[in-house]
């Protein structure tokens, strides 16, 4: 287990290095010099930036400086906001995105596992058809449409009830988080439901379930101890990529619901061509995603010994 963990972490570090390098190469191919344009708001910022990044030095030296800064966890200063460090921006906005993301993943995982199990148990009967129809809808409809529809129905609901059941947009309390998290998790929930269904169908017809039934184990116990536990395995494997999809998919939901998260900030930074924020956020997100996937893999290895023995 230890060597497996170590190997995965080492792989992760190399991957992060690759992401940082790719970001560096990409941003250095942006046409024009970011400092000579009018985008650096004034002389102070410009002087700060030139001193910081040594943009007159050879490319390789710049690369070493950039990597050194990254290693120390210093992502630089914003291009459009004076005296604002990228680290501050991340520190301020990432917790919001992370909260939203965690809530969405919980929604998606719980909903997906339960509904997937349900469809398998009621295979080719009404609950199965209804849920699978919803799943197809969830896979085919883009998240921004869900966000818009969710907001629209909330407006109507609030108007109908005469008081605010849930706030339509904004951030702050738990009630602000519910709808955005649900919308954000919907696509992943649909995907997980499908996966859970096929995995559950396989488990239902397996020998150990038949044995348990033959022994006279009550159906509820078969469901929780034998079927659910084994069927959930493949769902856990895709949870890593699912977290990645949810965190980056958060851009749209954060835009539509006016949530002050890092995703919305990234889109803003791109629209204002705030180079340092774009670079810092990309590397930060990349690192976060890589280590989330590794974490999920390690948890999976811990739950299912067959993985780490391979």
């Amino acid at each position: 287990m230890w060597s497996y963990t170590l190997k995965r972490i080492l792989q992760g570090i190399i991957t992060v290095w690759f992401i940082a390098t790719a970001t560096f190469v990409a941003m250095h191919n942006v046409p024009g010099d970011p400092l000579s344009s009018d985008r650096a708001a004034n002389e102070t910022i410009r002087a700060n930036l030139e001193a910081r990044y040594g943009l007159d030095r050879p490319l390789f030296e710049q690369y070493l400086m950039y990597m050194g800064n990254m290693l120390r966890g210093d992502f630089g200063i914003s291009f459009t906001q004076q005296n604002r460090e990228v680290n501050d921006i991340i520190r301020e906005h990432f917790p919001v995105s992370a909260t939203l993301g965690v809530l969405a993943v919980v929604f998606a995982a719980l909903g997906g596992i339960l509904m997937g199990a349900l469809t398998a148990l009621y295979r080719n009967r009404l609950p199965d058809y209804i849920i699978m129809f919803l799943v197809i809808l969830g896979i085919s409809v883009p998240s921004f449409v869900f966000a818009a529809l969710g907001q629209l129905s909330l407006v109507n609901l609030n108007a109908m009830m005469g008081f605010s059941v849930l706030p339509v947009a904004g951030w702050g309390t738990v009630s602000h988080m519910l709808l955005p998290a649900l919308v954000l998790g919907l696509g992943t929930m649909a995907y997980l439901t499908r996966l859970m269904r096929s995995s559950m169908l396989e488990v239902i017809s397996s020998d150990y379930v038949r044995t348990a039934r033959a022994k006279g184990v009550p159906p509820a116990r078969i469901f929780t101890r034998h079927q659910l536990r084994n069927a959930v395995m493949p769902v856990i494997t895709v949870l890593g990529p699912a977290i990645a999809a949810i965190t980056t998919g958060g851009f749209v939901v954060e835009l539509v619901f006016a949530v002050p998260g890092l995703g919305r900030y990234f889109v803003q930074a791109v629209q204002q061509l705030d180079y340092t924020v774009i670079m810092g956020t990309t590397v930060f997100y990349g690192t976060f995603l890589v280590f989330m996937v590794i974490l999920v893999d390690l948890v999976y290895g811990w739950i299912d010994p067959r993985v780490r023995l391979k």
Binding site: I14, T15, F18, I19, A22, T23, A26, M27, N29, V30, P31, G32, I136, L137, I139, S140, V141, P142, S143, F144, V145, A148, L152, V155, A244, T248, G249, F251, V252, L255, V256, F266, V267, V270, Q271, L273, I278, T281, T282, Y285, G286, L289, V290, V293
Partner: protein, 475 residues
């Protein structure tokens, strides 16, 4: 040993009795005797897959949808020849099937607040001076002697309180003037006009007066000619009814035809959605097949590189690439989007194909072919490619909705195509702003995206079921 003992010997006590063997069974058959063979005609892999696909109702339905989409995209603009960027200022944010009749009127003339149309301007308080039209709404009211100004408000619904009268449209301070003509962005609908007289300290004198104006859509002869709504302008007279140009699916917030824009958007969406998967699947197949075929160190290095590319956060790098190509917000980046999609998406396919090639290489039939002296060329073309083609086709089908989603997402956040180019994603983005009042501007592009993605997903499911050999053996 007799026949009898043989039967007893082989069938146990509780076994079913088997047919007894007679000496005639041991005689050789003549060469002309019929041999056992296939009863049904043999079918190739693809014929079999096609038959299975045809039995799948959902897959066939999705195929029809895709054919319809293709016709919509490529034949549609030939039939519906409306410029998607053309603005119809008479019909802005028009619902589908909305009334599009207009009355021909004379060109606008100045109004001095005196002339009244017959049947109008009689009575007390605020009253209309003529038939309200989209050209002008003329109203007058009784003068209030001590008033120093009159404030006018316009609203879309009946004002409930004197504090909420609507949008202030005018404040009249000229002495002796107690009429007003509204010409500001009028639409064919109900307007509630209110007037309040105020004193020098801007304190209201008495109650507000409200009137409802049912505005009729009108058009002048010059406009009719300019928009090509008639062949014979000389035959038209004021008061004639004119049919404005038809918009089957309505118009958007700038008066552009929704159907034409959906068709133009389909071109962008399908261009990205079909070309990008074709390109990255081709690259992925080449890369993966090379790695799988060469094997060893080369394979490991190649696959490690693919792993790195997979680890790049997809949407962030899509946006980053747009920036790198110098596509700022507000610029169209269809080709950069295509390139970025290809650069970021090929590794998944290459992994899959490599796995397939490695697996097929060890299959008994490939070994058999090799033992029989099959050349490399023969092995590749006869066994490797046909056996991976199914997987590749399924990947391709599932890659289409993913690419369409990505395009829609990027256009939605403003990093994809820019106005006036239409794409389904950017249309959704624009529709979102008018969602509450004109939902059709959001619904139509959203339905198009959903329908396309749904069709390709269902077709992918059907293809996987039809082409997957493992599933077939279990059925």
């Amino acid at each position: 040993m007799t026949d009898q003992t043989l039967t007893e010997h082989y069938s146990g006590a509780d076994a079913q009795p088997i047919r007894t063997l007679r000496p005639v069974d041991f005689e050789p058959l003549p060469a002309s005797a019929p041999t056992a063979g296939m009863v049904r005609p043999s079918r190739s892999y693809w014929q079999d897959a096609w038959a299975r696909l045809k039995a799948n109702r959902r897959a066939i339905a999705s195929l029809y949808i895709i054919v319809f989409l293709m016709l919509f995209t490529f034949v549609g603009p030939l039939i519906w020849r409306v410029d998607p960027a053309l603005q119809d200022v008479d019909q802005i944010s028009q619902r589908p099937f909305a009334d599009r009749s207009a009355v021909l009127v004379m060109p606008f003339e100045r109004w001095e607040g005196i002339s009244l149309e017959q049947g109008f301007g009689v009575g007390d308080g605020l009253r209309l001076a003529s038939q309200p039209t989209t050209q002008q709404v003329r109203m007058l009211w009784d003068a209030v002697p001590e008033a120093s100004a009159y404030r006018l408000y316009r609203n879309h619904f009946e004002p409930q309180s004197s504090l909420v009268l609507g949008v202030p449209i005018a404040s009249i301070t000229r002495d002796g003037v107690h009429w007003y003509e509204d010409r500001l962005d009028l639409r064919a609908r109900l307007y509630y006009y209110s007037v309040v007289a105020v004193d020098e300290l801007a304190q209201p004198l008495g109650q507000h007066q409200t009137i409802v104006a049912d505005v009729r859509r009108v058009i002048t002869l010059d406009e009719v000619v300019a928009r090509g709504l008639t062949d014979d302008p000389a035959a038209l007279q004021p008061g004639d009814a004119i049919e404005l140009s038809l918009h089957p699916l309505g118009t958007d917030y700038l008066g552009r035809d929704m159907l034409a824009r959906l068709m133009a958007g389909a071109r962008v969406s399908l261009f990205i959605g079909l070309l990008a998967p074709l390109m990255f699947v081709a690259i992925g197949v080449l890369y993966g097949a090379t790695a799988g075929f060469i094997g060893g160190k080369v394979d490991q290095v190649m696959m490690r590189f693919a792993d790195f590319v997979v680890a790049l956060p997809f949407l962030l790098f899509m946006i980053l690439f747009q920036v790198v190509f110098g596509i700022g917000p507000g610029e169209s980046g269809i080709v950069p989007m295509l390139i970025a999609l290809v650069v970021l998406s090929w590794p998944a396919t290459s992994r899959l194909v490599r796995g397939q090639i490695l697996q097929i290489r060890e299959e008994a039939y490939v070994n058999a072919a090799r033992l029989l002296g099959g050349s490399h060329q023969y092995l590749i073309w006869r066994h490797m490619i046909p056996n991976t083609l199914g997987v590749i086709l399924v990947t391709l089908t599932f890659a289409v909705p993913a690419a369409i989603f990505t395009e829609a997402f990027l256009s939605f956040i403003g990093m994809g195509v820019a106005p006036p180019t239409a794409s389904w994603g950017s249309m959704c983005n624009e529709g979102l702003k008018t969602m509450l009042t004109h939902p059709h501007e959001l619904i139509f592009p959203a339905v198009m995206i959903s329908m396309t993605v749904l069709a390709f997903n269902l077709l992918g499911d059907g293809l996987r079921d039809a082409l997957d050999a493992k599933m077939r053996s279990s059925v």
